[in-house]
C-alpha cells in the first residue's frame, strides 16, 4: 500500500480542500509513513470471525415525539454568516443561465 501524489490530489478534491503543491508533497510523505504503520499493524490482526463494532452504549432506537418547538431567531443565525442578503445566506450563483 503506497499513497502517491495523485491519491492525495484526488482525496483533497472530494474533501473540497485546496492544497498547495508543497502541501500535497508534505501530506503524501507524511501519510505514507503513518499510514504504512497503521495498515501493517491492522493487517496482522485476525478478524475473520469478528462482527463490526457499532456502538459502545446500550442505547437502542432513541426516538422523540415529532412536535414543533421554538427555534432560534433568524437574525441570530445569520449573525455568523460572512455574506447575507434580505434575511438569506448569500452564495455564488449555482445555476447556469438567467
Amino acid at each position: 500500500m503506497k499513497v502517491n501524489e495523485d491519491d492525495i490530489r484526488q482525496v483533497a478534491q472530494v474533501s473540497k480542500l485546496a492544497l498547495t503543491e508543497d502541501e500535497v508533497k508534505y501530506m503524501m510523505e507524511d501519510l505514507q509513513a503513518s499510514f504504512q504503520y497503521v495498515a501493517d499493524k491492522l493487517s496482522a490482526l485476525d478478524t475473520e470471525h469478528v462482527c463490526d463494532m457499532d456502538q459502545v452504549t446500550t442505547n437502542k432506537n432513541v426516538f422523540r415525539d415529532d412536535v414543533c418547538k421554538d427555534s432560534l431567531e433568524r437574525e441570530e443565525i445569520l449573525r455568523n454568516a460572512s455574506e447575507k442578503e434580505n434575511g438569506y445566506f448569500k452564495v455564488p450563483k449555482v445555476m447556469e443561465g438567467n
Partner: protein
C-alpha cells in the same frame, strides 16, 4: 491566604460564611490570569466584560442566605470547543475565529444554573486534534511546570490553567486522551467519563463515537463535585445515558479493602520510561498496602488500539469537519470564482495542517476502494478491544497503567504525524475505543520535576469506583 489555592469545598464554605466575597474571589483569579496568561497562553478568550456585575449579583444571592449549590460562585473555564451562547467559541481554529454561538451547550447551561462563574475559554489543539497543544491557530500553550515543555493536548489550555491556578476547575474534551494526557503532563486530575455520561449537546464534534466532556481539577474531591454538576440524561444527545446517576462525592469516604486492581504488564514494561515505570510500581504497592489486591490482566488486542483509533477517529473527524463550508458561519475565503472554489479555498485556508491531514486520511479510508480494508477492519479491531476489557472486568474492579509512557515532551520535539501516532496516547486510546471511564491522577515527579500520572480505567458507569481509588491514593500521598 491565596484564594486560588482553596478547593471547591473550602471556597464554597468561605463564601457562605462571608469570610470572602465572590467579587474578591473572582478578582484573585483574574489577577492570576493577568500575571500568567501572557506566558502560558491557556486562554483564548477572557470573559472580563460584565464579570464584576455578575459577581455582584451572585454575592447578592449569597447574602440573601438561600441554600445554594456547592459550585455557586466558583470560578471556572471551558475548553473552546464547548459552545457558549454569545461568547466567542473558536475550537482554536481560523475556521471559527469569529464564531459567536447563538445557543448554549448542555454543560455550560448546567454550570451556570449551579452559579459557577465562567472566566474564559481555553486554548486547545485545533478541533481537538492533537496531543501537544501546538496545533492552535491562537498559538501554543506552555506547561506551567516547565515553560519549555508542552502541556499535552488536546485540552492543553484546560490542564495548564487549572495547574497554574488560573481557574479552579475546567472542562476539557477527550477523544483518545485529550483530558487524561494533559492532566498527566501538568500534574492535575483529569477524568474522561463513560461515553454517554455527560451530554455532548454543544460540544463541537471531533470524533463523535468517542468524544466526551470531562472535568480537569486540582484534586479528586473537586473532580467528584464537578462531575455531579455536569452529568445527567439529556434528550438532546441521543447517546446520553438514561440511568440513575449517583452522588459521586459519596465515594470519597469509602475504602478500597478487598478491591481487585488489574495491571496490564505490556503497559508497564514495553515502552514506558524507567522513571514512570518505577512510580507506577510504587503506586501499585501503595494501593496494595491500602488493602487492594493487585491482579494481572491480559488485554492482548490493545496493542492494535493506536492503529484502530487513528483510522476511526480520522474517518469520523473528516465527516464532522465537512460542515465547515464558509456559507452559514465561520471563515470564508476572500477570492473565489464559483461555489466549488469557495468551498475548497475556504477549507484550504481555514484548516490547519493537522486537521487537513485527518480529513485526507479519513476520506481515504472511507472511500469505496478502501472502506473494507481499513475502516471496517478498524471497527473489528475495536470490537476485539471491547471484548478484552469485558473479559478483564469480570475479574477486576479497576485497571491501572501509566497515563503516558513518558513525561511532558519539549515544545517542537514531535511535530510530524508519525511521532504523534506512536507517542503519548498509547495507553489512553483503548478506553476511548471501548467507551470506558478513565482518569489520570498525579502520583509524583521525575528527576526533572515533571509530573507523572497514573491512569485508572473503570467499567461503564464505574466513575464512583475510580473516584474511590483515586481519593484513597491521594489521601495517602498527602500524609
Amino acid at each position: 491566604m491565596e484564594l486560588t489555592k482553596l478547593t471547591i469545598a473550602e471556597t464554597s464554605k468561605k463564601l457562605k460564611n462571608k469570610d470572602i466575597s465572590v467579587i474578591e474571589l473572582v478578582k484573585s483569579y483574574m489577577q492570576k490570569i493577568e500575571k500568567l496568561n501572557e506566558t502560558i497562553n491557556a486562554y483564548i478568550t477572557i470573559c472580563n466584560e460584565g464579570i464584576e456585575e455578575h459577581s455582584k449579583a451572585l454575592q447578592k444571592k449569597l447574602d440573601s442566605g438561600d441554600d445554594l449549590p456547592v459550585l455557586f460562585g466558583i470560578p471556572m473555564a471551558l475548553n473552546d470547543n464547548i459552545i457558549t451562547r454569545n461568547i466567542l467559541t473558536t475550537c482554536a481554529s481560523k475556521m471559527l475565529r469569529n464564531f459567536i454561538p447563538p445557543y448554549d451547550s448542555a454543560v455550560n447551561e448546567k454550570l451556570r444554573d449551579e452559579g459557577a462563574i465562567l472566566l474564559g475559554k481555553l486554548n486547545m489543539d485545533e478541533f481537538a486534534i492533537g496531543n501537544s497543544n501546538e496545533n492552535s491557530y491562537f498559538g501554543l500553550v506552555k506547561n506551567p511546570q516547565n515553560f519549555e515543555r508542552v502541556p499535552g493536548g488536546s485540552s492543553g489550555g484546560a490542564a495548564s490553567a487549572v495547574a497554574s491556578g488560573m481557574a479552579r476547575f475546567a472542562l476539557g474534551s477527550d477523544t483518545g486522551g485529550g483530558i487524561r494526557q494533559p492532566a498527566s503532563f501538568c500534574g492535575v486530575v483529569g477524568l474522561k467519563p463513560t461515553y454517554g455520561l455527560v451530554s455532548r449537546y454543544g460540544l463541537v464534534a471531533s470524533a463523535s463515537s468517542m468524544d466526551q466532556i470531562g472535568p480537569i481539577t486540582r484534586n479528586v474531591e473537586d473532580c467528584a463535585t464537578v462531575l455531579n454538576a455536569i452529568t445527567g440524561y439529556d434528550p438532546k444527545d441521543s447517546t446520553s445515558a438514561n440511568i440513575k446517576y449517583p452522588d459521586y462525592t459519596s465515594f470519597l469516604i469509602d475504602d478500597i479493602k478487598g478491591m481487585k486492581i488489574g495491571i496490564h504488564r505490556d503497559y508497564i514494561e514495553k515502552d514506558t520510561n524507567s522513571q514512570v515505570k518505577q512510580k507506577i510500581l510504587d503506586a501499585c504497592s501503595i494501593l496494595e498496602s491500602l488493602g487492594a489486591e493487585i491482579v494481572e490482566v491480559s488485554l492482548p488486542t490493545t496493542e492494535y488500539a493506536i492503529a484502530a483509533h487513528y483510522i476511526i477517529s480520522s474517518a469520523e473527524t473528516s465527516s464532522n469537519l465537512a460542515r465547515y463550508d464558509g456559507i452559514r458561519y465561520g471563515y470564508r475565503a476572500e477570492n473565489y470564482e464559483d461555489l466549488e472554489s469557495l468551498y475548497s479555498k475556504t477549507r484550504g485556508q481555514g484548516f490547519g495542517t493537522e486537521a487537513k491531514r485527518r480529513i485526507l486520511l479519513g476520506t481515504y479510508v472511507l472511500s469505496s476502494g478502501h472502506y473494507d480494508e481499513y475502516y471496517k477492519k478498524a471497527l473489528k479491531a475495536r470490537q476485539l478491544i471491547i471484548n478484552d476489557y469485558k473479559k478483564a472486568f469480570e475479574y477486576v474492579d479497576v485497571i491501572v497503567s501509566p497515563t503516558t509512557p513518558e513525561t511532558a515532551f519539549k515544545i517542537g520535539e514531535k511535530q510530524d504525524g508519525l511521532h504523534n501516532l506512536y507517542s503519548s496516547n498509547a495507553y489512553t486510546v483503548s478506553a476511548s475505543l471501548a467507551g470506558l471511564c478513565a482518569m489520570s491522577i498525579p502520583i509524583g515527579k521525575d528527576s526533572e520535576g515533571l509530573p507523572i500520572g497514573m491512569q485508572l480505567i473503570g467499567k461503564h458507569y464505574g466513575e464512583g469506583t475510580l473516584i474511590k481509588v483515586a481519593n484513597k491514593f491521594e489521601e495517602y500521598m498527602q500524609f
